[in-house]
């Protein structure tokens, strides 16, 4: 078996055996239950009111978007928390020494671990994102446009967060790594909302600040692109949701995010191959 897959499979098994994956899924299931209950009670309130069906649908769509946004935040934070100790922790404890002295290239070690998380995150995003969409459809009868593209963009966000965590893990200790990557996530979050606000006020300085923040860490920009693709055009245009079609990142931002991911992954490999273990 290729050593890359040996390491990928043990990383995946570690997440399963140490109950990281199962705990994340159980917590996610709790979220889905609360979300489903929210939709159910909203539907019950609608039945008791005279709200027009058109308006009901927009409100329920907005609820679904908020639910997916929560999934998005949860997925990114879970990604960072579960992977933050992977590289830096194994270097600090010396665990990496027994692996790095086997006939395995260093980049195999790093990419193998990365691939293990990529597989784990695919399951997590599929369950959480799919579960939220399924709850919206079965309980409230609402569906969104482009759910697959939206889900893939959320997955891309997780991969960005994962790769940034791996890159920082080759440089810094676990705690410092966590502080930096969560800080970058906060920066992206703030930048995305500043850019959104700039659309209301037509402020060019805010736009620049938001764009620069998104270029430094394009997590929130990718979510806004996903929201733009998924929510009904009318809901976005009428600003029924917090994800109105104001200052929507273009498709080029997705390309930039892909390029960004490749570059930081290459940097992580480059530094991991040269550092002392």
């Amino acid at each position: 078996m290729n050593p890359l897959w040996v390491i990928a499979s043990i990383t995946f098994r570690e997440a399963a055996r140490k109950k990281i994956l199962w705990t994340a899924l159980v917590v996610g299931l709790g979220f889905l239950m609360v979300f489903g209950a929210g939709l159910y009670y909203q539907m019950a309130d609608f039945h008791a009111s005279n709200m027009p069906p058109f308006l009901r649908y927009q409100v329920l769509s907005a609820m679904l978007m908020v639910g997916l946004y929560t999934v998005d935040l949860l997925a990114v934070v879970m990604t960072i928390l579960t992977s933050v100790d992977t590289i830096s922790g194994e270097i600090a404890s010396g665990t990496i020494q027994a692996i790095a002295t086997k006939p395995v290239a260093r980049w195999h070690v790093l990419i193998g671990k990365w691939a293990g998380f990529v597989a784990m995150l695919a399951i997590y995003v599929a369950v959480m994102f799919g579960g939220t969409l399924a709850a919206g459809y079965w309980i409230a009868g609402v569906s969104l446009d482009n759910p697959l593209r939206g889900g893939l963009l959320v997955y891309l966000e997780c991969l960005l967060a994962l790769t940034a965590t791996f890159l920082m893990g080759t440089w810094f200790s676990t705690l410092t790594n966590g502080v930096i990557v969560l800080g970058l996530h906060g920066l992206a979050f703030l930048g995305g909302w500043l850019e959104q606000m700039s659309g209301f006020a037509q402020g060019s300085a805010l736009v620049t600040l938001g764009v620069v923040s998104s270029l430094i860490m394009p997590l929130e920009a990718i979510w806004r692109r996903a929201a733009f693709l998924m929510q009904p055009p009318l809901a976005g245009a009428l600003q029924f949701t917090p994800f109105a079609n104001i200052s929507v990142p273009s498709g080029a931002m997705v390309g930039y995010a892909g390029f960004y991911l490749i570059i930081i992954l290459a940097l992580a490999i480059y530094h991991f191959q040269r550092r002392d273990l």
Partner: protein, 256 residues
């Protein structure tokens, strides 16, 4: 450096004739780190299978090799136990097994007996000897000089990262001998006469320490002392330990 964990600041190193950084050469090299740590959630069997797969071993070979090694290091009854329940000594044993999983030609063991009880230390010694007998070269890095003394064929003393000297330990005890001598009259001329067989270090008026080139000369030295009228009442050959040799070569601890 030889295993590629640390980059050299200069120069080059070769392992089995191949530059030390080459990945492929590690197929022939085994390594036990000083403080062996590994995924605590793995069982002993899973750990060895994982390391075997990293070395490119197929399932058939692992089925033979893993039980053999677990038996060799005395962990067969614990094959299904997770490492988190292992004592330090058991972790050392499983660490040694992972270093040997692929039958390496060169084995680096960093303090392999630390944390082991006397039985465990003997087991490790026997394993090292068995590896030597099958033709492998074992580098044993240790501060336990008594272990080195009974295990190794050759020793290199390192100070400040540089090899100060090397010694062949095979039969080295027979080469040099130290003798403690006590006598009533150790006149300076009598002591000077001993220099034809040994170097002398006079401790006080009635005792001295001799270092002779071999045991063969000891009867002659004793005859000389009796005939010269020094009235010897103690003549005790002493074993020179590796620790003595270490102190002699590397010198006293100069502090931090």
């Amino acid at each position: 450096m030889l295993l590629g964990l640390v980059s050299p600041s200069g120069g080059e190193a070769f392992v089995l004739g191949v530059p030390s950084g080459e990945v492929e050469i590690r197929r022939k090299v085994g390594f036990l780190p000083e403080d062996f740590r590994f995924y605590q959630w793995l069982t002993a069997t899973e750990l060895l299978e994982f390391h075997g797969r990293l070395c490119g071993m197929d399932a058939g070979r692992l089925r033979e090799r893993v039980p053999y090694l677990l038996d060799l290091v005395g962990l067969a009854p614990h094959r299904g136990k997770r490492l988190q329940g292992f004592s330090k000594g058991m972790l050392q044993r499983i660490g040694l097994a992972q270093a040997l999983i692929h039958d390496p030609e060169v084995i680096f063991l960093d303090e392999p007996t630390s944390g082991l009880d006397p039985m465990g230390r003997r087991l490790v010694r026997d394993i090292i000897r068995a590896q030597r007998d099958r033709g492998a070269t074992v580098f044993l890095n240790s501060h336990l000089l008594s272990e080195i003394e009974v295990t190794c064929d050759q020793v290199a003393f390192i100070r400040d990262g540089e090899i100060v000297t090397t010694r062949d330990l095979r039969g080295w005890q027979e080469e040099k001998v130290r003798v403690r001598v006590c006598a009533r009259k150790l006149a300076p001329q009598i002591v000077a006469g001993l220099s034809q067989w040994a170097t002398c270090d006079q401790l006080d008026d009635q005792s001295l320490s001799l270092t002779a080139a071999s045991r063969e000369v000891l009867p002659e030295i004793l005859c000389y002392l009796v005939q010269s009228g020094s009235a010897p009442f103690e003549f005790t050959p002493q074993r020179i330990s590796l620790e003595d040799l270490f102190m002699e070569i590397v010198g006293e601890d100069r502090g931090l």
